[in-house]
């Protein structure tokens, strides 16, 4: 595998930000009660990580090490505010649902984590790929959680009442309220980590 594709594909599985790096758990619990906000959050984070990685990487030789965290923060916050403004103008419903979580992208450990670990000492193109890869890796987990929680918690997928259409309620099926609550998301993340590690021996700690 070439270096670039490794940088890009790594975070999707072997180096997944949520299940392996254990970053960004907070927002992952918060926005996955339904599929739609999960997807929007995943896309917003991908955009922010990719762009902030790119920008910081371009600036990396000019940034004085002593104030690098502040510089990173300024860049990330600026991008997050931009994303928030655009969401508010063009997809208002979604921005309302995400409300405070958009602001929380700033504190999403993935963003700062990738900036410190990668963008500060890699070339721009690579850094951007790393950002997109990490954003998508985060997104994959979010989508899995969102789909599961919406289907079993509210009986719908992307707002479509699947369970009702299948006639599940008529045969005594009921939505599980616990799935909507944050603790269940944490349990599900645990299950995903478990499945991934039992399949991929490399990830198992000795």
């Amino acid at each position: 595998m070439s270096n670039n594709s490794k940088v890009f594909l790594g975070p999707l599985a072997k180096n997944n930000p949520i299940t392996v790096q254990i970053l960004g758990i907070c927002s992952c619990l918060a926005v996955t009660a339904q599929l739609k906000p999960a997807v929007v959050m995943a896309l917003s984070v991908t955009v922010v990580v990719a762009l902030s990685n790119l920008i910081i990487s371009l600036m990396r030789n000019t940034i004085p090490p002593r104030i690098r965290i502040i510089v990173q923060l300024v860049v990330v916050s600026a991008l997050v505010i931009l994303v928030n403004q655009v969401l508010m103008a063009y997809v208002y419903d979604v921005s309302k649902q995400l409300s405070v979580y958009v602001g929380l992208i700033i504190t999403n450990c993935i963003v700062m984590g990738r900036l410190e670990a990668f963008a500060m000492n890699h070339k721009p193109w690579e850094s951007m790929l790393d950002g997109i890869g990490n954003g998508l890796g985060y997104g994959v987990v979010l989508v899995i959680l969102g789909a599961f929680r919406e289907l079993f918690g509210s009986g719908s997928l992307w707002g479509v009442p699947v369970m009702e259409k299948l006639g599940m309620y008529k045969i005594g099926y009921e939505n599980n309220g616990l799935v909507i609550m944050a603790p269940m998301a944490l349990i599900l993340v645990g299950v995903i980590i478990w499945i991934q590690r039992s399949k991929d021996k490399e990830l198992q700690e000795q």
């Binding site: 931009l82 103008a89 419903d93």
Partner: protein, 272 residues
């Protein structure tokens, strides 16, 4: 690692911050109109929902113009502070449009002993007139809102919507469901003497009771919040309701044209 002088660090951070500030202000100003339009359309959508007109957010402004006639603001003494004609798109009286009133600000004013002004939206639907009163209160985790539509007797609820910011899904958040809202229809907010008694949200409510509806099991705190919100906010209109009644009673000989504020009263007057 390169060494940077203090001077470089200062200049670097100053330039960075300045660039970011300019960029953000430009974007914020560019998108402002669109964002505000979204918020306004949503408010219209929710007012329309209170009178049982469901629509997409984009259609809300047109339908709002179709169904709503006048926006009034009244103070707690029942005086009409301002009037805005929706069809003519202009202020008839006063200078603050009811639609632009921030309920939270007015409630705080009132709490601090100053005079707040509160909005009323007059509508005509299927040839019948009525008003919508917006309310705002506290749920368990954050604010809860509602729009109550009253029929032309200014007493009977003909429609209602609830919304919230952060109530628990599956429990308190159930206030937005049809199951919770439907029982409100046909309830009354005034007692026989015309005093605002509101509608209580409580356990084991009597379905035949005019002033109570069933609470949400597991959502007691939110239900209590809704109950308190309705009681507090509707009571602010007590003087307005009284004044309308007196007007209606006196109106036998006075021309209805002397009361341009809300078509509603003209109609009531001719009925008396």
């Amino acid at each position: 690692m390169k060494n940077f002088s203090n001077k470089y660090i200062f200049i670097y951070s100053a330039v960075l911050v300045a660039v970011v500030a300019v960029l953000l202000s430009v974007v914020a100003m560019g998108l402002k109109d669109k964002q505000q339009a979204n918020v306004r359309n949503e408010k219209m959508q929710s007012l329309l929902a209170a009178i049982n007109v469901d629509c997409e957010r984009d259609q809300a402004p047109a339908l709002y113009k179709q169904y709503f006639v006048t926006e009034l603001t009244v103070n707690t003494d029942g005086q009409v502070v301002s009037e805005y004609s929706i069809a003519d798109d202009q202020m008839k009286n006063g200078d603050v449009r009811a639609f632009d009133i921030n309920l939270k600000t007015e409630q705080t004013k009132e709490k601090n002993g100053a005079k707040g002004s509160f909005p009323i939206y007059c509508f005509v639907k299927d040839g019948k007139q009525g008003i919508v009163i917006p309310t705002r209160g506290n749920g368990l985790w954050g604010p809860v809102y509602s729009n109550i539509a009253l029929g032309d007797d200014l007493n009977t609820v003909v429609g209602v919507t609830f919304s919230h910011e952060s109530e628990t899904p599956g429990l308190g958040a159930e206030i937005t469901t049809e199951k919770f809202m439907a029982p409100f229809i046909g309830k009354q907010i005034l007692d026989a003497d015309g005093k605002v008694v509101s509608i209580a949200v409580k356990k084991h409510a009597d379905p035949a009771g005019l002033h109570e509806v069933d609470a949400i099991s597991g959502g007691t705190m939110t239900s209590n919040g809704v109950s308190a919100m309705l009681a507090d906010d509707l009571a602010r209109y007590q003087a307005f309701f009284d004044s309308r009644r007196t007007l209606a009673a006196q109106a036998a000989d006075t021309s209805s044209a002397t009361d341009p504020e809300c078509n509603l009263v003209e109609e009531e007057v001719s009925n008396e």
